[in-house]
Amino acid sequence: MKARLLLDNGMIFEGENFGAEGTAFGEICFNTSMTGYQEILTDPSYAKQVIVMTYPEIGNYGINKDDFESSRVSAAGFVVKNYSENESHYKSYIKLKDYLKQQNIIGVSNIDTRRLTTIIRESGAMNCVITTEEITGEVKEKLKNFSIDKNITKLVSRSTEEVVKPAQEKTNGLRIAVIDCGIKKSIIDCFKDRGCELTIFPNDVSADKILESKFDAVLISNGPGDPQDAAETIKTAKELTGKIPIYGICLGYQILCIALGGKTYKLKYGHRGGNHPVINKQTGKVFMTSQNHGYAVAPASLPENVAITYVNLNDETLEGFSCKALKIDAVQFHPEAAPGPYDAQVIFDGWVNEMLERKYNVLDRLKKLFIKRG
């Protein structure tokens, strides 16, 4: 069956349908990862986006039960060059196309994805419609009026609190409050594997609610959409600032920027892939990071007590900042990878060590101080 992709600039791409049938609207974006379509599809940050994979062979290893980043596909559609009808992997339990069908997501293959990517790169992010039906005037009209729901984080966030405990033998005693704006499972796992207990709250949780439980730190998660639309979480973040250490990843980092009085802006076509070089301003070392964001933080807008920690080598956009005084540390990229390189997982080590230090070594340090003076 044929499927079509209509861009906001009027261009139409025609290909073959795989996965679900129907019509879906979204913002088009491309991802340059060569592996990891399963993680990408199930990453809630892609809510309302039509994902173009630049790597041309997709579906090769099917879908397995271990690599989901959430329980469902939040993306609006999936565009590839060559869909591999026959997958091969010992873990695969379902074909990609059948999984998409299950999830009611339209896939389209046989698209000149390189051409499409070039257009997105040159014209910038734009809305699109993906459909297995005729493109009628009505559809075109709908596309013109389409915009991403301002309440999008609510759509992907959980509605109830959840506690995630680490394996008994790994427990380090740290308790972290997580504000779920569309969190990826791998972020939870990265803390859990390091022995932390997580209490995950919906995105509209209040600061008081968090503060009353005496957590060791707060993490504001990744998520979809424009950070300026995440008003409730921004408010919470502002109220938490200075009262408890706060960490942020991706959208969480952008929210923290706004909470500190900084500004975010929309990138022309975003960063999505697993090969973004980020330089650590302190060590001069570069690591490869997994990224997925359409907005960035304007470094000049940040207050003076904020230090720049990471910068993207490709376009020199800001990738991380910290504020010692307010105990805030946040990164734009995804240290949990999934998909992408594991290089930046050291960020979690750093954060957990910092929390442990704060929690357990305060007494030790005081003692040492007394001995010295004594």
Partner: protein, 1076 residues
């Protein structure tokens, strides 16, 4: 860390002659390295014994030493040049081993030379099997259960404990030479023995076989600041068990989940950090297809063949970046050559699929052992880029330049299903075609996977291609179907055959529907950033990104994969052609399919097309570019073979016309031409039937030289001595070529001379004439050759020049030509004329200083030799003397007779240069790996009746020098009759000879083949063949021509009296000469 400013002069090690496992990729890497250093204002001194390389051009390094790669050479040059640093990691295993030797002998310390890039300790840790294993255990990286053995007992102990199959890998060898998989005790002993022998430190690693696991490679790079990145990963279609150089490979991996990909990536980075590698490095893994468990197999702590492939597959210049790191730069300080904006510290993202296929020499050596294992046998490789796996794979198959393209091949039709399944278990070069045949018979993917262990994903993809052929056969031929065929990589010529239509009809159909190839850019970033890299590949039914300029362009055809008979020298020519064309003000465009070469580096020409060297692919480029014309002279026989089809398509051939090419290559026309010009030739005839052959033989008289027409490297060429041999040959020769006849010539056993010339159609310029050491009958590529001639009379030289002038004029050659003569009794017979650049062009350009390719370009474009400032005729002879010595790779190829024959067998060459013939000869032998350290001991002689009467002088010299002659029965008798002392060894006592060789009791062997080469190969009982093969196995030098043996003895004698050699730069030798 900006660059280290203490380094002002660097010595670069080249990788020496082309052998299997070490080919053109190191010329590519070396050139990048030299350029990267020069860019920084660093003076570059280069030593390489291989004259066919581009890196030994004077423009690449500041000073070029074409000298033997020995410790003596290096010490001499280091003492003379006093470099600050040594760059070894770009010279392959040769470079690394040399660096270790120089370090161990204290030379680096003595002269205060810093080893740049990866340090000695790290090299040792990566290369020494035991140290490496220890390190892996220490950092928690899994390695297969294994043992490092320095002797048979240790090896045996492990084998008894673990059982077979076992993989044996010798330490510090290249291309797995001396290794293999043993599935029983006998094989085990043999492989361990040869492995211990081959390893320079007598050490082998024996590991439990994990055959059947996926084989995955990572190309990683690290700087001194510990930033480490992956350039790309690659997945072998053939699972573990076949050397990666002999495997079909895709980039990136296709069947790995993100977790598997990242786990191995992290492991590779952990390893490169633990080893503290500074620069490029390759890590190989075995991945269990059923559990994601993996093992680290091997690390190459240097730039390798795989890194050349990775560079071409991604656009990331690994060798260049490695060099910059070696002089102190950090990855984030080096610019990304493609985007010009971003840094080199990033990992390429591919939006296409790359397939690499090895090129094996089995089409030449059809009696050779085609089984593939841990020992590499391929001489070269091709790479193809496609937007889908199907098209990439299909293009790669086309690029191999087999007689047939396509996957389903007729020759397997006759097998039953059961036979076919049995054949599928055989791992050889043809297995992929058997897989295709099996799929076409509906043998299931599961079953094929069970037998071959090739991942199902690949088998499904091949099935898509096979099934599509069926659709083409059965479905109505519509535009949609045709487009799908093109998208999947089918050629029009294949579609014609499958649909039973004429090619012209398909082409007309294509024109009617206006279906054209589109071209996409290789940009390292999957279009995320704007790039203007002039690096393209074709696709169909997609947007054309090709940027065509207004500038008039010229398309230069490359020479495809490296094979015996068509090697790196044609890459030298292609690259120089690009530079020459550019200098003439045209846009230079190169097309080639070989990832190892410099010609496929995107910054050599103005534009690069990575495409199969097939007429359809070339025409796609021509239609898109509309070049002024095409240069076919510089890409060897591959390019020349395309001339006719290009001409037919109305494409302008620049320089020598198609008529002239045909006149030179068509037997009959050429014969008539020589006759008309009154130039002597060996009498001969082209025949198509056995009866005709016998008749001709009677007319001409034996011995005769027989060969098929239109071949490269003398494939299938042979001397026959009687009717029986002629018939045998004739019956087997026909399969080589259906369209072209077999040529029968008188075999004139005289002195062979060869020359290359530039012609403008009126005048010729001959830089020099070379003389072969071996008499005619040995392929010119396998002969030792001297420049200038030593034993050719002045009157004869005049005759040769006269003939050349007459031929060039008559053939209207515009550009380069090559002529081979045989001289006998003061008559010069023309053997052949090649209307193109030849194998010897790089050597002649370097030793005479005449830029032959550039002059070839200028004359092809219509300029005259005089206009170019040169005097026509033979260029003044110089006092510089050089000797070219061929280098062979028999240790990698089983069941190939090492005897010299009219058929070419060498894979590479070295050059000895000095001020006298003797010195040059000594250097030539040294460079080719011969030694002069044994002056007494046993030398075995076993000669055929034909050569016995010519051996007296050699035998006497041997005795005089203090050697003891051990001779086989017949030879012993002959020597006895002449009063030359020798010890008899029974000619059938092969085991005794083997024992002698094993114990290193034989210094060398002189063995002339008893009958013709073909009989020797067929009869495995043939003793001569066995002696030669065993000699190869034990690395005992074996001379199969008395001429070569005589030259060796002369060199030995000279070296004995004058052991101290001087080593100078090529320009110094030339300068000395012009002053004289």
């Amino acid at each position: 860390m900006p660059r280290n400013n203490d380094i002002k002069k660097v010595l670069v090690i080249g990788s020496g002659p082309i052998v299997i496992g070490q080919a053109a990729e190191f010329d590519y890497a070396g050139v990048q390295a030299c350029r990267a250093l020069k860019e920084e204002g660093i003076k570059v001194v280069l030593i390489n014994s291989n004259p066919a390389t581009i890196m030994t051009d004077e423009t690449i390094a500041d000073k070029v030493y074409i000298e033997p790669l020995t410790v003596e050479t290096f010490e001499y040059v280091i003492n003379k040049e006093r470099p600050d640093g040594l760059l070894a990691g770009l010279g392959g295993q040769t470079g690394l081993n040399m660096a270790l030797k120089l370090y161990e002998e204290g030379i680096l310390d003595r002269y205060n030379v810093k080893l740049l890039g990866t340090k000695i300790d790290s090299i040792k840790k990566a290369e020494d099997r035991e140290l490496f294993k220890e390190l892996m255990v220490e950092i928690g990286e899994p390695v297969p259960d294994s043992v490092t053995a320095s002797n048979m007992e240790e090896a045996q102990e492990f084998a008894s404990r673990t059982g077979f199959p076992l993989i044996i890998r010798p330490a510090y060898t290249l291309g797995g030479s001396g290794g293999g998989i043993a599935s029983n005790q006998k094989e085990f002993e043999e492989i361990v023995y040869s492995g211990l022998l081959r390893s320079p430190i007598s050490q082998v690693l024996i590991e439990k076989s994990i055959a059947g696991y996926k084989e995955i490679e990572y190309e990683v790079i690290r700087d001194a600041n510990d930033t480490a990145i992956t350039i790309c990963n690659m997945e072998n279609i053939d699972p573990i068990g076949i050397h990666t150089g002999d495997s079909f490979v895709t980039a990136p991996s296709q069947t790995l989940t993100n977790k598997e990909y990242q786990t191995l990536r992290s492991s590779a980075l952990k390893i490169i950090r633990a080893l503290k590698i500074e620069g490029g490095c390759n890590v190989q893994y075995a991945l269990d297809p059923t559990s994601s468990r993996y093992y680290v197999i091997e690390v190459n702590p240097r730039v390798s063949r795989s890194s050349a492939l990775a560079s071409k597959a991604t656009g990331f210049p690994i060798a260049k970046v490695t060099t910059k790191i070696a002089i102190g730069y950090r990855l984030d300080e080096i610019k990304n050559a493609i985007t010009q904006k971003t840094a080199a510290a990033f990992e390429p993202a591919l939006d296409y699929v790359v397939t690499k296929i090895p090129k094996w020499p089995f089409d030449k050596f059809d009696h050779g052992d085609r089984l593939l294992g841990t020992k590499m046998k391929a001489t070269g490789e091709v790479m193809a880029i496609g937007r889908t796996f199907e098209s990439s794979f299909k293009k790669a198959i086309t690029s191999i330049e087999d007689k047939n393209t396509g996957l389903v091949r007729k020759k397997y039709i006759s097998f039953s299903d059961e036979e076919l399944k049995a054949l599928l278990t055989i791992q050889d070069d043809r297995r992929i075609f058997r897989v295709a045949e099996a799929l076409s018979r509906k043998i299931s993917v599961d079953e094929i996977n069970y037998i071959t262990k090739i991942d199902k994903w690949f088998i499904y993809k091949i099935k898509n291609l096979v099934e599509f052929e069926q659709r083409l056969k059965t479905e109505p031929f519509t535009k949609e179907l045709y487009l799908e065929a093109k998208e999947k990589g089918f050629l029009d010529s294949e579609i014609a055959v499958i649909t039973r239509k004429r090619l012209e009809d398909i082409e007309a159909f294509r024109k009617e529907h206006d279906i054209k190839a589109a071209f996409k850019i290789v940009d390292t970033c999957a279009a995320e950033f704007k790039a203007c890299t002039p690096y393209y590949y074709s696709t169909y039914n997609e947007y054309d990104e090709n940027m065509i300029t207004d500038k008039e362009s010229i398309l230069i055809l490359g020479s495809g994969p490296i094979r015996i008979g068509q090697g790196i020298e044609f890459d030298y020519c292609s690259v120089h052609a690009a530079w020459g064309v550019r200098a003439k003000g045209y846009e230079a465009i190169i097309v080639n399919s070989n990832p190892e070469t410099l010609s496929t580096d995107f910054d050599v020409a103005d534009k690069l097309y990575f495409e199969p060297m097939n007429i359809e692919n070339i025409m796609n480029i021509v239609e898109s570019e509309k070049p002024y014309g095409v240069m076919v002279q510089f890409g060897g026989q591959t390019a020349i073979n395309l001339a006719e089809k290009l001409d037919k398509n109305g494409v302008k051939l620049i320089g020598t016309s198609l008529e002239s090419i045909n006149l030179a290559e068509d037997r009959k026309q050429f014969e008539a031409l020589l006759h008309a010009l009154d130039i002597p030739q060996a009498k001969g005839k082209a025949v198509r039937k056995v009866e005709e052959a016998i008749e001709t033989a009677e007319e001409l008289g034996f011995p005769l030289l027989v060969r098929p027409s239109y071949v490269i490297g003398g494939r299938g060429m042979q001397v026959v001595y009687n009717t029986e041999e002629l018939i045998t040959y004739f019956n087997s020769a026909l399969k080589f070529s259906d369209e072209h006849p077999v040529l029968i010539d008188q075999y004139i056993e005289g002195k062979e001379v060869e020359l290359d010339a530039v012609s403008d159609g009126e005048n010729v310029l001959i830089p020099g004439i070379t003389e072969h050491i071996e008499r005619a009958g040995v392929h010119s590529g396998d002969s030792m050759a001297i420049y200038p001639t030593q034993k050719v009379k002045a009157s004869m030289i005049n005759t040769l020049v006269d003939y050349t002038e007459r031929l060039a004029k008559a053939l209207k050659i515009k550009g380069l030509m090559n002529i081979q003569f045989v001289l006998k009794d003061d008559v010069a017979y023309v053997i052949e004329v090649n209307p193109r650049a030849s194998r010897t062009v790089p050597i002649m350009s370097k030793v005479t200083g005449i830029p032959m390719v550039e002059l070839g370009i200028s004359t092809a474009l219509g300029q005259s030799i005089k206009e170019l400032g040169y005097k026509p005729g033979l260029y003044d002879k110089t006092d510089l003397v050089c000797v070219k010595v061929p280098v062979f790779s028999f240790q990698k190829l089983n069941r190939i007779d090492p005897a010299l024959a009219p058929e070419m067998k060498s894979t590479g060459e070295v050059l000895g240069i000095d001020t006298s013939f003797d010195r040059a000869l000594v250097k030539g032998f040294l460079a080719a790996g011969y030694k002069f350290d044994r002056l007494n001991g046993d030398v075995m002689l076993s000669l055929n009746d034909h050569t016995k009467p010519q051996c007296d002088e050699i035998a006497k010299t041997l005795v005089e020098l203090g050697f003891r002659i051990v001779a086989t029965t017949g030879t012993h008798k002959y020597l006895e009759e002449r009063g030359i002392p020798s010890k008899e060894i029974e000619h059938f006592d092969i085991p005794k000879m083997q024992a002698h060789m094993k114990k290193k009791q034989l210094c060398f062997i002189i063995n002339t083949p008893s009958t013709n080469a073909n009989a020797a190969r067929i009869g495995s009982e043939n003793r001569g063949f066995m002696i030669r093969t065993i000699a190869e196995m034990y690395s005992t030098p074996c001379f199969t021509s008395l001429d070569t043996a005589g030259a060796y003895l002369r060199a030995l004698k000279f070296h004995n009296s004058y052991p101290n050699l001087e080593y100078n730069g090529i320009t110094e030798y030339r300068k000395v000469c012009t002053l004289v």
